[in-house]
């Protein structure tokens, strides 16, 4: 419908998650018609990031440095490690809590059917840290679903081997949640795990 290069741009933009064909068309036309400087800036930022961003050798989070800025921060508490599935989880915890320990970013969860085992999640790095004896508590902040639970269970076993205590983020009815509209899985577990009032 458009000329070839414009169509290529639309196709490329629709490779982004939750960007459909119509949105990609709007983005492409906007960039070409109104904001070519932004377009070039986006292309340059992508190339710069793809070319240099790798994994932090200590926590596996995305970083263009061998050790990321959180791992370099000497004010953080080395005895606490919070394990999360991805970089967005680090942001969520940094923004919502006053956690001041270290992170370990799995970049996924255990999924044997997809060939993702302990090695793919860098658990050898985590194991070496646990082995060093510096860690007092491993906070398991993987997602609260079947995969996240299975991964947390595996990590808890690993920590037990080195005498490191583990904790799991609380699971229950979210703040502001009305019982009537809470899914039965959540409500069932929240009821089971009720605490003294």
């Amino acid at each position: 419908m458009f000329s070839e290069k414009v169509e290529h741009l639309i196709q490329a933009l629709s490779l982004m998650p939750s960007v459909g064909k119509k949105t990609a068309q709007r983005l492409a036309i906007h960039l070409l018609q109104h904001d070519r400087a932004a377009a070039t800036q986006i292309a340059n930022a992508i190339n710069a990031a793809v070319g240099s961003v790798g994994s932090c050798q200590r926590c596996r989070n995305l970083s263009e440095h061998p050790i990321c800025h959180i791992c370099r921060d000497s004010r953080r508490n080395d005895s606490l490690i919070c394990v999360v599935e991805g970089p967005m989880d680090v942001i969520a915890i940094e923004q919502s809590t006053n956690f001041s320990g270290r992170y370990f970013v799995l970049m996924g969860h255990l999924s044997p059917l997809d060939g993702i085992g302990p090695n793919e999640l860098g658990l050898d790095i985590l194991e070496a840290t646990l082995q060093s004896g510096q860690t007092q508590e491993l906070i398991l902040a993987t997602n609260v679903n079947a995969e996240g639970d299975a991964t947390a269970y595996y990590l808890a076993e690993l920590a037990r081997k080195y005498g490191v205590s583990t904790s799991r983020i609380a699971f229950g009815v979210p703040m502001g949640g009305e019982l009537e509209y809470t899914d039965s899985y959540t409500l069932g577990h929240a009821f089971e795990r009720r605490t003294q009032f």
Copy 2:
């Protein structure tokens, strides 16, 4: 929060329309974590398009060729010209109608306060076409709002100078539109312009 290059990428992606900070974060992390090939493809497509896509000399639509593929198509009817505000409008009309004439893409609308006058919309090119005597009808398909109406009015005056008849796309309650939920401006005009049943 993220490392510098990742932050740059997030900032760059949020330059796109309707992409906020949170969406830009998700896009950046997805591209870096799961799909670097797509990221590179997007950067290359942007650079290729920005580097070569200009305006069709005849209809002003986006194209990397001096004359776009619609203007090159000899099967289209030279005596009909449909004037639209932007490239997305061409797509909308191509997909919804069987219009087989030519287009003229204003790439905007008259907006004296923003310094957009007839010259900025390439009306000299349109005027030359009208002057050539080939055009029988100028279809005014600018948006149905104050700016689009003002632009259509100006274009109608221009066409009259060369004895070219003009038409304006119909305005009224949209298909499936319920009167109760139709805005009063639309309903007022639809009532005024009622036609014999």
